[in-house]
């Protein structure tokens, strides 16, 4: 079981006189748990998610983000004792991904000319390679030299990596059926020309393929109609139920929480998590609004 532990996280925009956005975030998410992170615009929710993934636009000024791993996190892979706790802030974004961190983007990038199949298989294999290297310090020089395409760029390199083309196609097909996604997506370019809803579905699909320990989903519910919301919710529940992924779901709305029931709800205000509770906190919030939280928090202070 993996645990993501955020302690006293302070961060600002990484430029001269960059605005201080996070002022001491504390949060802990374990595999298999579903957390909802709520809060008004500008409270620092999205920033928190980007910093977890390693976005270069922010500078952490204090605090830490740790990832604790246990033996069952990567299937049968035995994790060496000295590789069980990681300071994410010292790692590159792709290294964090390799250790099981996933960020579902609010606005996923559109990459022209790169098919879904090629992208996802490359990412999956890169993740597996990088993970081996981080855990066991293996640097596979030979494979590096083999970089390049030996098949059509549409398919990617046939021999590159652990998961071959045929095996991957099967995996992808399975996951797409689960999410009720059309097979034709496989040959489309990554997010290019996707509708808002398709992009969000695609984020969940990617998480299903990459099997992260912890998935941070930034407003995955925004811009979804009710049918798509149900598909996406089904996908998120499956991440937890079938892969044991821990979910940190950032949302403005109670609506998605009806489909993806959180074990824990946290409320952020002004760069801090100010209140945590169970699912009922979300419905209280829906009834009373953020002013209620603000009053409670600042009166108590």
């Amino acid at each position: 079981m993996a645990t993501l532990e955020i302690k006293n996280l302070h961060a600002r925009v990484a430029e001269e006189d960059g605005e201080q956005i996070l002022r001491g975030v504390d949060l802990e998410v374990k595999s298999g748990e579903i957390h909802a992170l709520m809060g008004p615009n500008g409270s620092g929710k999205s920033t928190t998610s980007k910093i977890i993934a390693g976005h270069p636009a922010y500078e952490v000024t204090d605090g830490e983000i740790l990832l604790h791993l246990e033996d069952d996190d990567f299937g049968d892979l035995e994790i060496p004792d000295d590789a069980r706790t990681w300071n994410l802030l010292e790692l590159e974004p792709n290294e964090r991904a390799a250790l099981g961190i996933f960020l579902g983007f609010q606005y996923p990038a559109e990459i022209e000319g790169v098919t879904m199949t090629n992208f996802l298989r490359t990412a999956l294999n890169a993740k597996i390679d990088e993970r081996e290297e981080l855990l066991f310090g293996e640097d596979d020089e030979e494979e590096e030299e083999e970089a390049g395409y030996d098949t059509s760029p549409m398919e990617g390199n046939v021999d590159d990596g652990e998961v071959g083309v045929a095996e991957f196609q099967k995996l992808l097909k399975e996951k797409m059926e689960l999410l009720d996604m059309d097979e034709k997506f496989m040959q489309r370019y990554l997010n290019a020309g996707f509708s808002g809803g398709e992009k969000k579905q695609n984020e969940v699909l990617q998480a299903a393929i990459l099997e992260p320990s912890i998935a941070v989903l930034d407003e995955i519910d925004s811009g979804l109609d009710i049918d798509r919301l149900q598909d996406v919710s089904k996908g998120i529940n499956a991440l937890r139920d079938e892969q044991g992924t821990g979910i940190l779901q950032i949302t403005h709305y109670q609506r998605i929480l009806e489909y993806v029931e959180p074990d824990h709800v946290h409320i952020m205000l002004d760069g801090k998590v100010v209140k945590s509770g169970d699912a009922s906190l979300a419905s209280d919030l829906e009834d009373k609004g953020y002013d209620w939280v603000r009053e409670e928090v600042y009166e108590a202070a």
Partner: protein, 476 residues
């Protein structure tokens, strides 16, 4: 996807282009360009009198014409001193005009082409291969079944002897006259080697024919001439590849290409250029397309210090069409100035031009194009799209798409984009597990995908490899 491509994995692309061979030649001309040099070359080739006259006429034109210096953003040609280059080197091979078995070549030359993977490619995917080393074609072969159908694929020098009538009619007369530009004139004076392709009426050459041009000696010039005549209803795909090892002195490549596309014929001309970064690559390529014919130019320009290349199609007959796909990659110290020219001289002619360029580490790419639609070319259409991708703020890219439209009933579309590689795009891919280099590489290979998609598989592979190699310098 198949074992056919296994051989491609086994060769290290970088080593394949970078190696040098000791220079061994049977005949080396004096440096520089004089009437005497040209007479010597012509005599060494045992050419008919008319060819010598054409050469000498071209020389006079060359001497009169000024260097192009006033094009906005053009590569600096001030270092191109023709008097410093060796214009003609005949490699030391026994059979003039090229052998038809690789084993008959001297070991060092055979080894060169082995490293470049040409004999392997020939076995697997080509109808015929020509290979030029320095100034002469050293290997030439075509599958017998094409020969039986009357297809000719031979080196240009030999064609002057064996197909004199055709060559005399088409060679630098109506398509690329030496008066076209200074380097066409230079080419006309000292051309050597290259290919002659003749496809008879209604013959479709199913697999591509390929010519490979290799400069091995320091400070030399290579001036091969390619003449393709595709008769009515015929079809052929010609591929050329180029490379040279890097030396401190500059090399000059100034090829000439003339293509005659007959009625309803279809010619595709693909180039992957990977000259060393000390090569000036200044070519003139042009096609004349008859009624209902189709010309396709596909070019990948990766190497060279400076390239100036604007393949042109003259759409002469009703319903003739053109398709240009170009990709340029400029790294540190490179100025890749490429583009396309299309003349719509008849009604219902159609052209599409797609250009993609990538610049990094202070490199410069230009798209310089001209679409001319003549008065009377009714119901013609053209679509031009140019996209440029820059890696950093030091790199430059300019787009100069000139249009001259003298007819009103035409359809003209033009789009251009210039952008820096997106940090958010890179972060997105990184967050999925790709490292910084791989993320950039994936974005670039996606950017050029519309082009690689058009190429035969071996060339798509090669092009992607070359792009990866070019990028490795700046990344990591």
């Amino acid at each position: 996807m198949s074992s056919d491509q296994d051989h491609l994995k086994e060769t290290d692309t970088e080593a394949r282009f970078e190696f040098k061979k000791e220079q061994k030649a049977a005949f080396v001309a004096e440096k520089g360009l004089t009437e005497e040099t040209i007479r010597v070359i012509s005599e060494d080739k045992d050419e008919p009198e008319w060819m010598l006259e054409r050469r000498l006429r071209a020389l006079k034109q060359y001497q009169k014409m000024p260097m192009p210096t006033d094009w906005p953003g053009q590569p600096d040609l001030s270092k191109v001193n023709v008097d410093e280059i060796v214009p003609y080197i005949r490699p030391d091979v026994e059979v003039r005009g090229g052998v038809d078995d690789w084993r008959d070549l001297p070991d060092d030359i055979k080894d060169t082409f082995d490293k470049l993977g040409i004999p392997e490619a020939e076995k697997n995917a080509l109808s015929g291969v020509g290979a030029q080393y320095e100034s002469e074609v050293v290997y030439q072969n075509m599958q017998e079944r094409w020969e039986e159908k009357g297809v000719v694929f031979m080196n240009m020098d030999q064609a002057v002897q064996e197909h004199e009538d055709i060559v005399k009619e088409y060679f630098m007369t109506k398509c690329v006259p030496p008066s076209d530009n200074k380097f066409a004139a230079l080419h006309g004076a000292i051309w050597s080697g290259g290919s002659f392709v003749y496809v008879p009426e209604d013959v479709t050459v199913e697999m591509p024919v390929q010519a490979y041009f290799r400069m091995n000696s320091e400070g030399m010039g290579q001036f091969e001439h390619t003449l393709i005549v595709a008769e009515k209803g015929s079809e052929v795909h010609y591929i050329e590849g180029c490379s040279a090892p890097k030396y401190s002195a500059f090399n000059l490549h100034s090829g000439g290409v003339e293509v005659f596309v007959g009625e309803d014929a279809h010619v595709q001309y693909s180039t992957v250029q990977n000259w060393s970064k000390n090569t000036y690559n200044l070519n003139t390529k042009r096609a004349i397309v008859e009624k209902g014919g189709r010309m396709e130019w596909i070019s990948g320009s990766m190497g060279s210090k400076a390239t100036m290349l604007y393949p042109a199609s003259i759409l002469k007959g009703r319903g003739a069409s053109d398709n240009h796909i170009t990709i340029a990659f400029a790294g540190e110290g490179q100025n890749i100035d490429t583009g396309a020219k299309v003349y719509h001289n008849a009604p219902e002619t159609k052209s599409t031009i797609e250009s993609k360029s990538i610049s990094k580490d202070g490199g410069r790419t230009n798209y310089r194009g001209l679409v001319h639609i003549a008065n009377g070319a009714k119901n013609s259409s053209t679509a031009v799209e140019c996209d440029a991708l820059m890696f950093d703020n030091e790199s430059t890219s300019d787009t100069m798409p000139y249009m001259e439209i003298n007819e009103s009933t035409v359809d003209v579309a033009h789009e251009a984009t210039v952008g820096k590689i997106g940090d958010e795009d890179i972060f997105y891919l990184q967050s999925r597990g790709l490292d910084d280099d791989d993320a950039k590489q994936m974005i670039v290979s996606g950017f050029i995908e519309p082009i690689t998609e058009e190429l035969p598989i071996e060339y798509a592979v090669e092009l992607n490899r070359l792009v990866e190699l070019e990028m490795e310098g700046s990344l990591g």
